[in-house]
Symmetry: C2
Subunit: 187 residues, 2 copies
DNA sequence: CATAACATACCAGTTGGACGGTTTCGTCAA
DNA sequence: TTGACGAAACCGTCCAACTGGTATGTTATG
């Protein structure tokens, strides 16, 4: 009966907003704080409305995780388009995507933290495995060298350090590290 | 009135067991499955008994995280004692501790997953920060080089890959990577 | 006017935790 | 040696708040 009932209906916008709210809750207050009540409350959407978009809590979490993977894919594809050299292209793009989150404005750090939170949920970890397997098969021709694997490993380490805030590297050292990693993808 | 009431009192053992059960629940079913009821039920200790050892759920989680950090400290110290060269000694020990979990028997993989699960809880992330800061200050004389930082970063990456099961490195490649990392700690 | 996009009301089960009871243990005087 | 006694280590119950989810509306949109 109240406010949101009379406003213009924007299903895609509302759906998007619900995912963002869920992401913010997860990163700020941990996984246990992501409840249907909390999400619906913080987004100004009723619980019924929330359950209309996502039939169950699992569906909500899976949709959230999928949207994060889509963003990752988009960032990687964009970086790959700007890279003329085929060999190691995917690995460089992956590295770039991992590095990017540190320099992005506010929301993107949450993004990474949510990814990690979601990875702790065993069911969603399978989705991540599938993603990794797909990519490693797709780019087996150009990114299957040992060095490339090492670079991707290091990128994960940087990703982890960035989102945990364990910054003990200064800018110049970080830049030297990145240069070296990119060099490794070309070998 | 029933069973456990009459058995011999073993406060330290019970406390230890409660932490192990909580760890197992967290790694197998995710953070949302770690409830007081679940922990007390799976450990054969009443909820009252559980709340006697850990006055609140937060206290339980913090104690669990602390015990994990203690294990990490113990593994690192052991590795450091076996290392005669001071320069980079802590970093090598840290690397060794990160690598060790893959080769350990069953329970230890859970250990790492729990660490990650707990790291998603914002309050516990601060504890991790404190741990990192302490160590980086303690070993500033021997492990503050850029290369050492890089090695620790890569160790985190390996740690993450191991516990997520994203194994795309074969044994020989892994060994070459490790050798290279150890070499870097000596520069 | 049919359907999608919401809202409101309600439910049964679960949650963290408070509370008061019972049993064991350490210790120290007699 | 004993035995009293306070503290620590448990147990079982109860509860208010919250949980995910259902069922049934009401409103907007094509």
């Amino acid at each position: 009966m109240s406010t949101a009932h009379h406003r213009k209906k924007q299903p895609l916008f509302v759906r998007q907003q619900l995912l963002e709210v869920a992401a913010r809750l997860a990163s700020e207050k941990g996984m246990t704080a992501v409840t249907l009540d909390a999400v619906s409350g913080a987004s100004g959407v009723s619980k019924g409305g929330l359950l209309h978009h996502f039939p169950s809590k699992n569906m909500l979490l899976e949709a959230l995780f999928d949207s994060l993977l889509e963003r990752l894919d988009a960032a990687i594809e964009e970086a790959m388009r700007a890279d003329p050299l085929p060999h190691g292209r995917f690995t460089r793009a992956y590295l770039h995507a991992c590095l990017a989150l540190r320099d992005q404005p506010q929301g993107t750090k949450d993004w990474a933290q949510v990814t990690m939170v979601l990875l702790t949920e065993p069911q969603l970890r399978q989705r991540w495995h599938a993603w990794v397997r797909e990519r490693s098969e797709e780019y087996v021709g150009t990114d299957s060298s040992v060095d490339a694997a090492i670079v991707r490993l290091a990128a994960d380490g940087i990703w982890l350090a960035d989102l945990l805030g364990s910054h003990d590297l200064d800018e110049s050292a970080r830049q030297r590290l990145i240069d070296r990693l990119i060099e490794l993808t070309r070998l």
